[in-house]
């Protein structure tokens, strides 16, 4: 049995249709209600529907053999897994954003609001910038508006939310998209099916280009 951790929501739906097309279907997916586990016994597949930010946890701990997760979450949590494919969907960019007209005052500590604590720390330590993290779970854009922080570090898809809140991107430093990951042990013991999955998904990506 191959366990696949799929993020709940829009990204999960797009990924499922790719897997479906590749022959890793699970008919129960289409009329899913509140189930968290669905199976295709004949093909030996079990889909686990998990919170997007938890996919890598399931995979690293072997509760799932493979999974699909955003690169932003991989950068933040650095799990010990194989990252086998860039699925090219769920695209966005990891950015530093600030109110229009913001000028960085290097004589004082920079206050950074983010939910990507490790990513932000890493970004500023590379630039040797003294900073303070303000951890938020969502609506990060409120940080600079309320004076809670000077800038934010967050993922930006269309930029509409930033615009609506009068923020601009200062530096877009990382391309983000959905990645196909595998547990290192599973990759060795269930290599045939995982490799087949990677090849077929890879072929779809080639065709789509």
């Amino acid at each position: 049995m191959l366990n696949i951790a799929l993020p709940k929501g829009r990204l999960g739906d797009s990924v499922y249709s790719m897997l479906d097309q590749a022959g890793f279907d699970c008919p129960a997916y289409n009329d899913i209600n509140r189930e968290l586990v669905i199976e295709n016994k004949k093909k030996g597949l079990r889909y686990l529907l998990v919170k997007p930010g938890d996919v890598q946890v399931y995979v690293e701990h072997h509760a799932a053999d493979v999974g699909i997760v955003g690169k932003d979450i991989l950068l933040e949590t650095e799990p010990d897994v194989y990252e086998l494919l860039d699925l090219g969907i769920g695209k966005c960019r990891m950015c530093v954003a600030a109110p229009r007209g913001f000028a960085d005052d290097r004589s004082s500590t920079l206050r950074v609001a983010t939910k990507y604590v490790n990513v932000a720390k890493h970004y500023y330590s590379e630039r040797n910038r003294d900073m303070e993290i303000i951890y938020l779970r969502g609506s990060i854009e409120l940080g600079p508006i309320t004076g809670l922080s000077d800038v934010i570090v967050d993922i930006v898809e269309t930029g509409n939310t930033l615009k609506a809140n009068d923020l601009v991107v200062i530096d877009a430093f990382k391309d983000i998209s959905a990645r196909f990951i595998a547990n290192k042990s599973s990759f060795k013991f269930q290599n045939r099916i995982i490799s087949e999955m990677v090849t077929k998904l890879g072929d779809q990506l080639e065709e789509g280009k």
């Binding site: 072997h62 990252e83 086998l84 547990n183 290192k184 042990s185 990759f187 060795k188």
Partner: protein, 372 residues
């Protein structure tokens, strides 16, 4: 009926069996102190699997650490030279960071090291012992072997900055072929070399086949020799009854400042993470001013203990209850008679909470009756 034996956990069983195995090959048990001066780790951070060390100030003011690693202490204390080698094994606790829990944890580790004149036989023996180690614990294992020079030589003349080099090694470790291509293009690696680099993640599998595929990527003598050595060693494993489930994975690469030559990792099908890791660390020896080679491996007993075992239905076969006025000679006699029947038996005045027992007996005035 035979009296039941103590039920050993997988990690306990492993420790017993493996000590015998290592001693059969002439390895000696090595016991060391719990603490080490912090300086040893501060100057060798890259050798450790994490960068957190549990420190304290000793009564004389020295900054000490609870060992996060055993190998560094062994290297430091070693008297091995090219004429006189040391073969030893250890069972020690190490203290490391648990990233998810954000705290320190105690990890029981068993390991084996060979220091001195490390030749091909010596390497083969250690790899064979790693295979036998895995096999004795669970038959669903895989040992993957790699050679450090394969990746390091491929990256050597690309003129990578240190940051890019480390980044590239991480991409290779996570088999991230798309990432390798992207970064290599950004750095300006020639296209034909990018084709080679992106092959590395897929160079894994059965020994002969994988080595054959890998040979197409050879660009210099060091790489050639690395693959030849892998072939020589894996060829001999069979003679040592240790060739089963051995695979090559050339995307396996350790820290380049300490390791060189043959490296390997062991996995169990049931477990999430590798349970065994090891390799040649001549470079680490050089750092400590030792002009000799070394190879060894560690087995993480805390991971091994996660292997599923049959759950015990009962804590004890027979629970025997006796009253306050019972003569203790009668209690002793009754317990002995129950044990003679092959049961484990526990004498109590009243039934302990949560104790699972198969049968309950009552002892009154020396007469034993089973309670239905």
């Amino acid at each position: 009926m035979v009296n039941r034996k103590a039920k050993l956990k997988p990690a306990e069983k492993a420790t017993l069996e493996l000590r015998a195995l290592y001693e059969q090959f002439g390895y000696r048990k090595y016991k060391m102190g719990k603490f080490e001066e912090y300086g040893l780790y501060a100057s060798n951070m890259d050798f450790l699997s994490g960068d957190k060390v549990l420190t304290f100030t000793d009564l004389d003011g020295r900054l000490m650490a609870l060992k996060p690693d055993v190998t560094l202490s062994i290297i430091k204390d070693s008297h091995a030279d090219l004429q006189s080698s040391e073969k030893l094994y250890y069972i020690e606790n190490v203290y490391r960071e648990d990233r998810e829990g954000n705290n320190f944890v105690e990890i029981e580790q068993m390991g084996l090291e060979c220091l001195g004149n490390v030749d091909d036989y010596c390497i083969t023996e250690v790899v064979a012992l790693a295979v036998k180690t895995l096999k004795s614990i669970d038959k669903n294992y895989i040992l993957e072997i790699s050679h450090m020079s394969f990746v390091t030589e491929l990256l050597k003349d690309l003129g990578l900055r240190y940051d890019d080099y480390v980044h590239m090694l991480n991409l290779i470790r996570s088999k991230n072929a798309p990432g390798i291509v992207k970064v290599a293009r950004k750095i300006g690696v020639p296209e034909e070399r990018i084709d080679d680099l992106k092959e590395i993640p897929s160079l894994f599998g059965p020994v002969k086949q994988t080595l054959k595929r890998a040979r197409r990527l050879v660009i210099n003598e060091e790489m050639q020799e690395g693959l030849d050595q892998l072939e020589r060693i894996t060829d001999v494993l069979k003679a040592m009854d240790a060739a089963d489930n051995v695979q090559i994975d050339l995307s396996l690469v350790n820290d380049t400042n300490y390791y060189n030559g043959i490296i390997f990792k062991g996995y169990f099908e049931e477990l999430a993470k590798h349970v065994l890791a090891g390799g040649q660390y001549d470079k680490a020896m050089t750092k400590f001013g030792r002009a000799t080679g070394a190879i060894g491996f560690g087995l993480y007993l805390n991971e091994v203990s996660l292997l599923r075992t049959e759950e015990e239905k009962y804590d004890v076969d027979a629970l025997m209850l006796y009253g306050a006025k019972e003569q203790i000679a009668n209690v002793a006699k009754a317990i002995t008679s129950l044990r003679k029947q092959g049961m484990s038996a526990r004498a109590e005045r009243s039934r302990p909470k949560g104790l699972k027992c198969r049968k309950i007996y009552r002892l009154k005035d020396g007469v034993l009756t089973e309670k239905k």
